[in-house]
Amino acid sequence: MEEGFPLATLVILIVFALFLTAIWTGGYDKQLLNRFRSHWLWDWITTVDHKKIGILYLIGGAFFFIIGGIEALLIRIQLLVPNNDFMVGDTFNELLSMHGTTMIFFVAMPLLFALMNVAVPLQIGARDVAFPFLNSLGFWLFLAGGILMNLSWIFGNAPDAGWTNYVPIASNEFSPGTGIDYYVLGLQISGIGTTMGGINFLVTIINMRAPGMSLLRMPMFTWTSFVASSLILFGFPPLTAGLFLVMFERLFGANFFDVAMGGNPVIWQHLFWIFGHPEVYIVILPAFGVMSDVISNFSKKRLFGYTSMVFATILIGFLGFMVWAHHMFTVGMGPVANSIFAVATMAIAVPTGIKVFNWLFTMWGGKIRFTTAMLWAVGFIPTFVMGGVTGVMLASPPADYQYHDSYFVVAHFHYVLIGGTVFGIFAGLYYWWPKMFGHKLGETLGKWHFGLFFIGFHLTFFIQHFIGLYGMPRRHFTYQPEDGLTTLNQISTVGAFFMAAGTIVWLINIIKSARSAIPAGNDPWDGRTLEWAISSPAPEYNFAQLPQVRSLDAFWFEKMEGNKKMIPAEPLGPIHMPSSTHWPFIMTIGFFISGLGFVFRSLEVGVLGLILVFLTMFIRSFEQDHGYHIELDEIEKTEKGANA
């Protein structure tokens, strides 16, 4: 299609180049650089503070949620009436591919990373994460990947082969142009970032727990983040490998999937789902963790069956790697493989059930407070169970021959993804908002947000089970009037608008509560875990003195002992902090340029970007940076201010 390099891209590259030289040389005018440096944006671009990075993830994820949501609305509008010609053919395929990809990779993952960044180090009583530099790099790579992929809307030719990107429709022959390249490179870049994020959390949780915080005293959210990070660690490489193969095939004429040259398209499906199934647990496990913490907090009770919860989480993570082929029952793997994967898949219902009942029995005998965070958690239980049990129905191959690629599957995964992940994210956001920003989100608007979204959700997706059973395949841009699907589809579309209304209420809520910014205090929810023992928002160094952890629900334990604060495990002293750095951002620019170059089939630019990446790595390796210390009097001042 587009041979050579379009002008617009060239302009962008030149701007970037100027920008870079400006940074490197200090500009033609030293003042310029200084002005740069003193700008508040510079602060955010160079930050290595995990709480700030969490907020960045939140902003990025919310932004893409709106984009992905608008894409969903357009899909639903197209399906409002039969034979609609609002968005058909390739355009519709682009919409649904971008919707799915955006929602999974640029909404669910970053929003969970936002929560993990904010909460995990605080929950384990750490001053920082293990790799602040990589953490920052991970965020910027996620953002670069997301932006790169969405640029496809601007330059035309978005990915159109579904979020699963099956070959051969994703090969050059059947999807000429640059669409799929955006998908491949966007995901590759953000995937590198995600892997780094995962490693960062793993090492943080293993090495940096406060004294006394044994593994079996970690809050559930930390545990689920830990297991989810392990899934990232082992789940993303198959995707990376698969994306490389597609990239080599599209850009360099390799033949992995081309039947005429001896290739086999099913290989991609395996690679994708070896990643894809763990991926869905990556996005559900942290949500489970949020639920566990929120439910236990607002029931005023210790989590019921904590140990079995931990082992259930680990088991889900492990089994998650053994079941991927349940997405491929109709591919023709034969009855033996189908049966094995079916039984393995069903097995996952057992540990998940353990979790569900433990939540129920955490509330049992408790004193339940229906804050907005708790409402999301409470709404989550029936919704997720509904999605889970349809999952088990899908796990039966002969029945799946009927459900597969129909709206029944669409209903299943929105029940788990929205009813599980998105509800979990909202619960977590309402819960930790005071810790992030110092004030709560409004409770009244919050309840409206929940109500509209919850009703809209069930309206949209409950119906879709039947749409599927009545024979409507997914990824169809239309249906026929005589199919008898019209009313059902219309109900579904109306529901989507309810969800949109709910989302808008949420945005209003954010703005309103930020305007009034009523200080929430350190411990607004009568919390149980360590993050509530420090001031809101958390100071840069988190804990002035590392806390001595004496029990599960460490802070609650101290409160019950009559202590207002955690017992310190060390004397007050100067605290070492990593310094801010602009290298992650610049390295990301390198990746971005490289991605853009490969998308436009300009190898020179692609390689140029990579050279920039390696150059920054090289510079970083030689840089000697020992961070800085926050001195005692400063800490004392901050702490006093917070406790006043």
């Binding site: 395929n93 904590y306 049966s339 057992v350 021959y401 009927q402 690629d405 009545y470």
Partner: protein, 339 residues
């Protein structure tokens, strides 16, 4: 289990209500109303699983609602509830019961998985049809009878039909909800599947694997006839009457040979070359649908011939809007005369 059954019934009632809401439009293709044994076996499994799931869901809901009502914090009550660690007995209970429920589901699942994968036996004298999917149309080759057709799969009632499925380009999936679940058609690989139909009628089929711009309109029909009528149809296909009768049809044949023949074939016609890039048009006049989507009438035929891409996005068929009115008319007459 009686509660389970009850709830299962409730779920069906729910589905009926949903149907009502849909204005009593009756889908011509529903998984819940199978017309063949494959679909029936699958529905049985679906039902078993729905009953189990309804039971599970009900148990969760009962506890859930009870807890929410019973254990809300009453205003002014600041007491601290007992911090229970857990209960081995309970936890064992909700580990073991799901395992049992899943075993109940797993056994028929595995059995059906294997039974559906079986090839029909010799005695069953199954009809074998080779199905080849193309972007965005279906080719059905009756190997035993030596002819090919497109878009409409004709099968006799009460007879096993053994399908050999493959694709010429990308991955597609063969789905006739009323007759049975789907099987993918992969390039370079042949999958198989057996279906049958117990009732005469026409059943809607869909492509169920995203295959490109025209995916949503890659529809086809399965026409089920009494055996006798099917045999007649076969005979007719083997001796098609493709000779033009009127002057218009004759002119139409000429237009066809100039414009269409490099892609389309018509059996029995005295044309020199037979294209196989596009559907075989033998018997076109008798088909229900044009391109699998438009009702077969003159007006629609013209619409299709003039702008195939508007009817079916991504269709490889070029537009013939350059034909003058007379040629267009003759061509239509010729096509409609094909039996």
């Amino acid at each position: 289990m009686s509660r389970g059954k009850h709830l299962g019934r409730l779920l069906f009632v729910f589905s009926m209500i949903a149907l009502l809401m849909a204005g009593c439009e009756e889908p011509a293709k529903s998984v819940l109303d199978p017309q063949g044994s494959t679909g029936e076996e699958q529905l049985t499994l679906i039902k078993i699983s729905i009953y189990i799931m309804a039971f599970v869901f009900a148990v969760v809901m009962v506890i859930f609602i009870y807890v929410l009502i019973r254990y809300r914090q009453k205003p002014g009550d600041d007491s601290i509830p007992e911090q229970v660690e857990g209960s081995t007995k309970l936890e064992l209970l909700w580990t073991v019961i799901p395992i049992i429920l899943l075993a109940i589901l797993a056994v028929p699942t595995v059995a059906t998985t294997f039974s559906l994968a079986e090839k029909p036996s010799e005695e069953e004298e199954a009809l074998t049809v080779k199905v080849t999917a193309h972007q965005y149309w279906w080719e059905f080759e009756y190997e035993d009878y030596g002819f090919k057709t497109a878009q409409e799969l004709h099968i006799p009632k009460d007879k096993k039909v053994y399908l050999k499925l493959t694709s010429r380009d990308v991955i597609h999936s063969f789905w006739v909800p009323a007759l049975g679940g789907k099987t993918d058609l992969n390039p370079g690989q042949t999958n198989t599947m057996t279906i049958d139909a117990k009732k005469v009628g026409t059943y809607e089929g869909r492509c169920a694997e995203l295959c490109g711009a025209g995916h949503a309109l890659m529809n086809f029909e399965v026409v089920v006839d009494e055996e006798q009528k099917f045999d007649q149809w076969v005979a007719q296909r083997q001796e098609p009457s493709s000779q033009p009768q009127t002057a218009a049809q004759e002119r139409g044949e000429e237009v066809f040979s100039q414009n269409c023949m490099s892609c389309h074939a018509i059996d029995g016609a005295e044309l020199e070359r037979k294209g196989n890039k596009a559907p075989n048009l033998t018997g076109f006049g008798e088909r229900d649908k044009i391109a699998g989507v438009l009702e077969n009438n003159d007006e629609n035929l013209e619409k299709w011939l003039k702008h195939p891409d508007k009817v079916k996005p991504g269709s490889y068929m070029p537009s013939f809007d350059f034909l003058n009115e007379k040629d267009m008319k003759s061509l239509k007459a010729y096509l409609q005369s094909l039996e």
